[in-house]
Amino acid sequence: MYQYDEFDADFVQERAVQFGRQVEDRLAGKITEEQFRPLRLMNGLYLQLHAYMLRINVPYGCLNSTQMRKLAHIARVFDKGYGHLTTRQNMQFNWIKLSDMPAILLELASVEMHGIQSSGNCIRNITADEYAGSAADEIEDPRVYCEILRQWSSLHPEFSFLPRKFKIAVSGSDRDRAVIKAHDIGLRLHKNEAGEAGFEVFVGGGLGRTPFIGKSIRDFLPTQHVLSYCEAILRVYNQLGRRDNKYKARIKILVHEMGADVFGEKVEKEWAEIRETALELADSETARIRGFFAPPAHEKLDDDDSDLAGDPAFATWVEQQTAGHKKPGYTIVNVSCSPVGKPPGDISAAQMDGFADLADTYNFGEMRVTHNQNLVLTDVRKKDLLPLWQKLVTLGLATPNHGLISDTICCPGLDYCALANARSIPLAEKLSERFADQQKQKDIGEIYLNMSGCINACGHHHIGNIGIVGVDKKNSELYQLMLGGSAEEDASLGKILGRGFDEDGIVDAVECVINTYIELREAGEKFIETYRRVGPDPFKEKVYSAPA
C-alpha cells in the first residue's frame, strides 16, 4: 500500500498542529463555536446528538496492521472502546472529547492517518473496490489512481468551498464493487481496443433526498488525464452548482437540471484548456505510485481446495465469505462486522487488535474496509483458511453472512445522529435476528438490505435490493419500504412500495417480501432478478393484505 514520504508526513503533521492550535483557541474561548465550526468540519469533527464524532479517513479502504492498532488504541483511550466502519470506507468514533483532539490527531499523524476532508463541502475520501489488486476479474488496479486523486484533492485551494460535499469512487473490474454510479464522479477503469487503460467517466450520481444514477459523459479517458478531467468537472460545478438551497447543491442536481449532454460539453470545453498542463500525469509518476501497490510476495501454490471441507461451520463460512483471487492457492476473505443482533459496522478495540494480528499472520500486514461496513483480507493462502477462521470465531468476526440478508448497510440513526428521524441500529438488529437462521438466509440467497434513519440516505437505502428509510410522522418513528434498488454495474433506484410501518411492522413486511420472492422465484433467480421480472405489484399485494 501507499507509504508517506517526507512531503505527505509534513503535510499531515502540519495540519494536525494547526488544528490543535484552533482547538486550543476554542477551548480558551478565543473563537466562538460559529467560527470554530468550519475549522473542525474540515478536520472531520462533527457535533452529534450526544458528543463530538471524529471521522478518520481510510484512503480507499486500505489499512495496515499498525494503523488498525492505533485505531484500537484511540477507541480504548479516547472513546468507549469501539469504533464504527462507514460507507466511505472510513472509521468513525462517536464519543470524542474536544480537549482530546490535539492528542488524537498527533497519534493519527504518527501512523499516516488524519481526518482532513472527511467532512465539509470539499472532496471527501476517495473510495474504491475493496478487492483492488487481488480480484480475479480485475482489469486495472484502481488504487493507483485513487492515491493520485487523494494527493491532488488534499486541501485543493480551488475546491475546498464547493456548493456541497463531493465524492469520487474508482472501480477497476467488470463487477462494480465501489458503487461508482451513486457518486458525484464515478470512474470505471477499462481497456480500449488497443489494449490501453482508461476511464469511463460518470457524473451526477448520488443518494440523499433526491437520488440519481450517475450518467456517463465520456467513454474513454486516457489515464494520464484523470486529474485534468476531474479538475474540469469540479471547476464547472464550483461555478455553476446551486448555492441557494443546500438540498439542491450537489452536482447531481446541476447535471439533472442542465442535462448530462450540456454538462459534458462544458466539461470537455474546460478540459481542452487544461489537459496539457502540469496536471497531466507523467508516466514516471504513475509508475512510482504503482510501485506502492505491487502485489505482495505471493508464493507459487497449487490451487488446492481439499482442506476446505471438514467442519460444516467452517465449510459454510468458506463458501460464503471467500472470493476469487488472481493467484492460484490464494483467496479473498470477507470478514463480516454485521453479526446477528449487533450494530452493523461496529468493531471493538479488542477486535481491531486481534484482526491486526491476523492481518500480520495471514495477509502481509494489510486489510481493507468495505463500503458495506465490513473488513476484507485480500491475499490469504487457502491453506491458512482453517486457522484464520478459528481465530475469527474467537474474535466474533466469523459470521458467514456476506451478501446475505443480515449483512446490512445501516447508518448510525437516531441513536447518534442529530439529523435522523428514526433509529436504524435497533431495527437492523431486529431484522438480523428475524433472519438469523443460516439455512434460511442461504435459501434466500444474494440480497442487499440497506437502511437509513432519515432521507439523507447515509445507509444507502435507495440502492439496496430492499431499502428501509426512517421518517418522522406525527412525532412517531415510521419506516418506509423500498424495493428494486441495486448498487452494482446494473445500478438502479428502489421504489417505495406503499404506506410506512412501525418498527415491528417493518420487520414483518420485510419477511413478507422475502416469502413472496421465494414463492415467485424461478430456479436460480436472485431477489433483484425476480423483482425486475414481476415488478412491485405481487409484493404490494402480499405486504398490504397481510393481517395487521
Binding site: F7, D10, Q18, N121, L155, H156, P157, E158, S160, F161
Partner: protein, 162 residues
C-alpha cells in the same frame, strides 16, 4: 476595512463606487460590473486606475477582453462558504493572464487566506485589525502543496522529481 497587501496593512487608494453613485473628482475607482459595462468607454479614459468588482454570480468571462484597461479585479465572497471566486481567480490569472491586483472582498477570513493566496489573490479586505499577524501565522502553517495552480510554489510531485 483594513486592506492586507504583501503581508502588510495598507491604505486602500481606490474609491469604491457602488452602483450608480457619483464618481469622485479623481483618483483610482472601483466600480461594479454593470457600471463598467454601461460606461466602458468613459471609464477606459478615466485618468487614474479603474477596478471592477464582480459579484459571486458574475464570471470574469464578462471582462476577459477588457483586462488591459483594468488595474484591479475585486471578487466578492458573500459568505466564506461560497467558493466560486476561487475558480474565477484561477481563470483570471491562468486563463486570461491578468497581472493586475486581484482582491478578495466580503466574508474573507484568516483561515481562507492560504487558499486565496494559492489561487492568485494578492490583496484582501480583512475584518480583523490583527490581519497582518494572522497572515504570518497562516503562511507558516502549511509548507506542502499538492496541486499545481498559477502560483510559483513547487508541488510535492515536482519536488519529488528534483
Amino acid at each position: 476595512m483594513p486592506l492586507l497587501r504583501d503581508g502588510k496593512i495598507t491604505e486602500d487608494p481606490y474609491t469604491r463606487v457602488v452602483g450608480s453613485d457619483e464618481l469622485p473628482g479623481e483618483g483610482p475607482i472601483l466600480v461594479d460590473l454593470s457600471r463598467w459595462q454601461a460606461e466602458r468607454d468613459a471609464l477606459v479614459a478615466w485618468g487614474s486606475e479603474v477596478g471592477v468588482q464582480l459579484a459571486a454570480d458574475e464570471s470574469p468571462a464578462a471582462i476577459a477582453l477588457d483586462l488591459e484597461h483594468i488595474a484591479l479585479v475585486a471578487l466578492e465572497f458573500p459568505a466564506f462558504t461560497d467558493g466560486r471566486a476561487y475558480s474565477y481567480a484561477r481563470l483570471l490569472r491562468e486563463r486570461h493572464r491578468f497581472e493586475g491586483e486581484l482582491r478578495a472582498v466580503g466574508d474573507v477570513l484568516i483561515e481562507q487566506l492560504h487558499f486565496m493566496d494559492r489561487v492568485g489573490f494578492d490583496s484582501f479586505d480583512m475584518k480583523s485589525a490583527e490581519a497582518a499577524e494572522e497572515w504570518k501565522t497562516a503562511q507558516a502553517d502549511m509548507s506542502v502543496w499538492y496541486q499545481p495552480t498559477g502560483d510559483e510554489r513547487a508541488t510535492a510531485t515536482r519536488l519529488r522529481r528534483s
